[in-house]
Every structure is written in structure tokens, then in C-alpha cells.
């Protein structure tokens, strides 16, 4: 039951390597929490998966629902069931939120009246006729992004820091919406949606339970494990400490080093 398979992915921006040898396998119904220090490539990974043309794939490939989408334009990926909420989306002056939401609803198979229902739920009704993201506060941007995502109703949900800069009251609203989006309110065997959530401080994990945690470090996947264990280690020992522990336990980098040594010796 493949949702996403990232194989040996390498990505450059302006000729500079920012992701290398990234492998990731997400099955239907699984949600991953993506951790990592600033500049480790978390947002870049999401941007590459959704097809931002600034992020050039120089190595490997991206398989989505069994199809190679590495060179597919963004709108095609979205039509296949990918969806993403941005950390800092651009302001598009003159383009009304409602008009963007109509496109989202079309993708998600919702009717126009559903837009108002979801907007109500996310306290975004009064923003519908404003230019998208223009003059929105941090929290308003998060809710607007989530509103768009909910109407797109994607099978694979990517969230770039949905909880940063959001006050406590709204974290609950956002958490609930994400749970619904990822079918975390359903029984495990009934879940069909998958997710990849970037979270810096892990606040959102108080509301949304993830199946796996993953640390991206210097453009590579450094370790995979229980998201709550990882979060605890990060808060106790910082990323460096966490990685040391992580690497000792999983021995993946050591193995890799040994392999490399063997190769060199041969």
C-alpha cells in the first residue's frame, strides 16, 4: 500500500546541494513527524515533493501512488492527491481567498457551500473576500493554509510548521482540523490518508499523533523512530545529543561508514 516512495533523492537550489541521498517510504494511513534544526532541509524536502521549480532534482526520484512524478508540474501532483500547507506563503494581491478556495474545492470534490462551512470552522469567514495572505497575521495564515488544504481533501498531506506562531487557543482548532484531515480520528486500519508534518517544537504532536518521527540533518535523513522518543531526546539533549544517541542505537551511519571503508579498501 504505497503512498510515497522517495528514492535516493538529491536536490539543488541555485547549483547548491541541499538534499542528498534522501530515502523515505510512507504507506497509506501513516503519518510522519519531520524534525531537524534550522536549515537542515525540512522545508526543501516538502517543496521538492510538491514540485516547486526552484528546487531541482539532480539525483533519485519521487514515486507517488506507484507513479514516477519527479518531473510532473505542481498542479498535476495536486490533482493526483498531494496537498501542502506553506510556512510562509506569498501574498498575492488582488487574488481573493474565496477564488483560491473555489479551485481547492474543485480539486477536493467539495461544493461551493462547503467552503463557508469549513471557513466557519476555522474562524476564517471574514477573510474570504480579502487578497490571499495580504495583511494576514501569522495565525491567520496558518488557518488560511489549513482551510485551503481541507477543501483540497488530499490523500497525502504535507504541513510545514502548522503550529508555529499560533496562540494556544488556535493550536487546538488547528490540531483538530489536522486530525480530521489525516483521519487520525478513525481506527488505524480504516485510515487511508498519509501525512508528513514539519514541527519545530512539536506542539502539534499534543493534538495529532504521528506514527513515526524522522530527523533531517544537513540534508540527509539521520534517523527514524518513535516520534515522541525523538521529541523527548531533542528537548533533553538537543539535536546533536539526540543524533549521537540515535546513531549509536540504530548504527546506520556507522554501518554506512564501514561499508564505505570496505569499498575503499577494495
Amino acid at each position: 500500500m504505497d503512498m510515497l516512495r522517495v528514492v535516493n533523492l538529491g536536490v539543488k537550489v541555485d547549483g547548491k546541494k541541499i538534499l542528498e541521498h534522501v530515502n523515505l517510504y510512507v504507506q497509506k494511513g501513516q503519518t510522519y513527524a519531520l524534525f531537524g534544526p534550522n536549515g537542515s532541509g525540512k522545508s526543501s524536502l516538502l517543496m521538492t515533493l510538491i514540485g516547486n521549480p526552484t528546487f531541482k532534482v539532480f539525483d533519485g526520484r519521487i514515486m507517488f501512488k506507484g507513479k514516477d512524478i519527479t518531473s510532473l508540474p505542481t498542479d498535476e501532483r495536486v490533482k493526483m492527491g498531494m496537498g501542502m500547507s506553506f510556512q510562509t506563503p506569498p501574498k498575492v494581491s488582488g487574488v481573493k481567498l474565496i477564488d483560491v478556495l473555489k479551485y481547492c474545492a474543485r480539486i477536493g470534490g467539495y461544493k461551493e457551500e462547503d467552503i463557508y462551512e469549513f471557513a466557519e470552522m476555522l474562524n476564517m469567514k471574514e477573510f474570504l473576500y480579502r487578497s490571499v495572505n495580504v495583511g494576514f497575521s501569522g495565525g491567520e495564515i496558518k488557518r488560511s493554509e489549513l482551510l485551503q488544504l481541507m477543501l483540497m481533501n488530499p490523500d497525502f498531506v504535507m504541513l510545514d510548521e502548522p503550529d508555529s506562531g499560533v496562540d494556544l487557543e488556535n493550536v487546538a482548532v488547528i490540531g483538530e482540523a489536522i486530525n480530521k484531515l489525516l483521519e487520525r480520528d478513525k481506527k488505524e486500519e480504516e485510515r487511508r490518508r498519509s501525512g508528513l508534518i514539519i514541527t519545530h517544537q512539536g506542539h502539534i504532536l499534543d493534538y495529532v499523533d504521528a506514527d513515526y518521527g524522522l530527523i533531517l540533518y544537513k540534508g540527509r535523513v539521520a534517523c527514524i523512530g518513535n516520534p515522541y522518543d525523538i521529541l523527548e531526546q531533542i528537548s533533553k539533549n538537543g539535536y546533536e545529543g539526540c543524533l549521537r544517541k540515535c546513531l549509536r542505537e540504530f548504527r546506520n551511519l556507522e554501518n554506512l561508514n564501514n561499508q564505505n571503508k570496505n569499498l575503499n579498501q577494495k
Partner: protein, 346 residues
């Protein structure tokens, strides 16, 4: 257009006035020739805001066979529906027009002026003088939608004189190709607290040259001005000018020019000018020219829009200026003009 949504209409073809009618007793509409005959005082307004010898084109309009419209609201009359004035260029020669618009004290008047040429007219020139007089506490909104052809040269000369608490709002829309538009309409805010707002949306397609500015001279205490322009070049040359003169104490003005370049051909040259003659004059401007931002296109594509749909939405959004004091039906007229040009921008 249906007469029930208009308070008065006027149609001039070349030099001949073909139709003049008012459906509302608060609005008087006449050909300028008839007005000069009917009222002696019209002479006092004729060539007052604009000098006869301002340039070679004003001199050319200062002739016997000039025609045009005379529109006046009576004092204290608020006209709900707009007056529609249409100037039509049919034969390949020079159309010479002299218009006079007077909003009497406490009145409110809306005018939509469509200036257009006959399809396939060889070549031609439209020279139009428009003088606006906005009396105390009156509000005049003038929306001009130009629609010419490749070989037409257009040189309007417009000026407004605004008295105490008067408001003059000018909206200009040009979407079709034209050989040349050259104009610099000016509002003289003589009255205390007088206000002028100029908004223009200009699209210059290949081979079009548009040299269009707006000028406000703040002569009355506490008078204020706003000038806003959105220009798009797809191969055409645009000079987007603006000039605010703070010629009295406690005046303020803001000028905003934004330009969007859609091709490697063409030029947008923004020239904002501010001039203060007193210490407590508050003037500002912002000007920006660029191409469509790739990150905005990508963002909209991530919501399911194709690249073309995203580009169209951004261009449309760029032109969607929040024009202050613009009635809904005028907004629809402008939207219609935008709809028509959208296909030419790809």
C-alpha cells in the same frame, strides 16, 4: 445600454451630435454649441481651466466647428444613475471635442465616457478638451474607458477646478491597442478641504505608446490628493507619470505607480514627481515595476490552478485596484473591459 440605468446620454459621431437626452430632471445635457447659445455664462467656463494656447493641440480644437457635451447637475441634486457620454470616431480625420462638465454646489454626478473608433477606420486623431468644475461640497466622478485601434492618435486635454469640500474622482481605463495616447489631466484644488483621486488602469499591447499622467495642484488649505496607477506592458511603451504639487499649507498627497512587464519587448517608465512649497506639506510616493512573481504562480498551482490560470489570476488581481468611491455599476464596466483584454495578455 439600457436607458433606465442612465440618467442621461450623449452620442457624438465625428463632429455631429447624434443623440442627446436626459431622463432625469436634475441633469442638464446639451451639445456644447447649444449650451453656448442658450446660456451667456457658459462663455465664462469655456477655456478657463485650460488655456487656449496651452499647446498646438489645444489651439487646433479652438475652432468654429468644435463640438462636444455640456453636462451640468443642478445644485443639491444627487444623481444616482450615471450620465453616459460616447464619442465615436468614424471618418479618418481629426475629431475635435470640447466638453464642459459642471457639478453645482452640493450635487453629485457620475459620468461614464466611452471614447471609441469605428472598426477598421483608416487612421485618425481624437483631440478632446474637457473642463470640469466641481463647486462647493459637490462630488464628481468621471470614468473614461478608451477603446481605440492601432492607427489612432489620441490627445485629450483635461483639467478640473475644485472648490471648498469638493471631490473630483477620475478613473481611466485603456485596454485596447492605440497608436498613441498622450495626456496629463490636471486637477486644481482651489478650495479648502478639496480632494482629488485619480486611478488608471493601462494596458499597452505591441506598438502602442501611452504617455499618461495625472497631476494635482493643491492650492486650498487641507486639500488632498491620491494618484494610483496600474500599468501592464505587453510589447507597448508606457510612460506612467504623476505629479502632486503642495501649493498650500496643510496639504497632503500620495502617489502610487505599479507596473507589470509581460514581455521582453516594450517599456514601462514610471515618473513620479512630488513638489512641496510649504513646510507642512505631506507628500509621498511609491513606484514599483516587475514581472509576475514565480513564487506566486507556484503557490496558486499548488492549489490546483494550471500555470496559465495562475498567471491570469495574478494579472487580473494586479488590475483589481480598490478604486475609492467607485459605484458598483462602474466597477462592472471596468471588469468587462478587463475580461475583454485578458485573452490578449497570453
Amino acid at each position: 445600454m439600457k436607458p433606465e440605468t442612465r440618467s442621461a446620454t450623449f452620442l457624438q459621431v465625428d463632429q455631429d451630435v447624434e443623440a442627446v437626452s436626459s431622463f432625469y430632471e436634475g441633469v442638464e445635457i446639451l451639445s456644447i454649441r447649444d449650451a453656448l447659445e442658450k446660456y451667456e455664462w457658459v462663455e465664462d467656463y469655456f477655456w478657463r481651466a485650460i488655456k487656449r494656447d496651452q499647446d498646438e493641440y489645444t489651439k487646433e480644437v479652438d475652432v468654429e466647428d468644435v463640438n462636444g457635451y455640456f453636462i451640468r447637475t443642478f445644485p443639491n441634486v444627487k444623481v444616482e444613475f450615471p450620465v453616459e457620454a460616447c464619442l465615436y470616431l468614424k471618418s479618418p480625420r481629426k475629431q475635435k471635442v470640447h466638453n464642459l462638465i459642471i457639478a453645482e454646489e452640493n450635487s453629485e454626478l457620475n459620468i461614464i465616457s466611452g471614447c471609441t473608433s469605428h472598426p477598421g477606420v483608416g487612421s485618425g486623431m481624437h483631440l478632446g478638451i474637457s473642463e470640469f468644475y466641481v463647486k462647493k461640497n459637490a462630488k464628481l466622478t468621471f470614468t473614461m474607458i478608451h477603446s481605440w485601434e492601432h492607427n489612432i492618435e489620441v490627445r485629450p486635454r483635461s483639467a478640473a477646478i475644485v472648490e471648498d469640500n469638493g471631490v473630483f474622482i477620475s478613473n481611466y481605463v485603456l485596454m485596447n491597442p492605440v497608436k498613441l495616447v498622450q495626456m496629463y489631466p490636471t486637477a486644481y484644488l482651489d478650495g479648502e478641504n478639496a480632494k482629488a483621486i485619480f486611478s488608471s488602469i493601462i494596458v499597452a499591447l505591441e506598438k502602442s505608446v501611452v504617455d499618461a499622467g495625472s497631476r494635482v495642484v493643491l492650492r486650498g488649505k487641507k486639500s488632498s490628493a491620491e494618484i494610483l496607477s496600474r500599468t501592464i506592458s505587453k510589447g507597448g511603451v508606457i510612460y506612467a507619470k504623476g505629479h502632486i504639487v503642495g501649493d498650500a499649507p496643510n496639504t497632503r498627497g500620495h502617489l502610487e505607480c505599479r507596473g507589470l512587464m509581460l514581455s521582453d519587448e516594450g517599456v514601462i517608465h514610471a515618473i513620479p514627481e512630488l513638489e512641496a512649497k510649504y513646510p507642512n506639506v505631506d507628500l509621498s510616493h511609491e513606484a514599483a515595476i516587475g514581472k509576475i512573481a514565480e513564487d506566486e504562480i507556484f503557490y496558486l498551482m499548488s492549489r490546483g490552478l494550471s500555470r496559465d490560470e495562475a498567471t491570469a489570476a495574478i494579472i487580473r488581481g494586479f488590475m483589481d485596484v480598490e478604486i475609492k468611491g467607485l459605484p458598483e455599476y462602474l466597477k462592472r464596466e471596468i471588469d468587462k473591459a478587463i475580461d475583454m483584454v485578458e485573452k490578449d495578455l497570453f
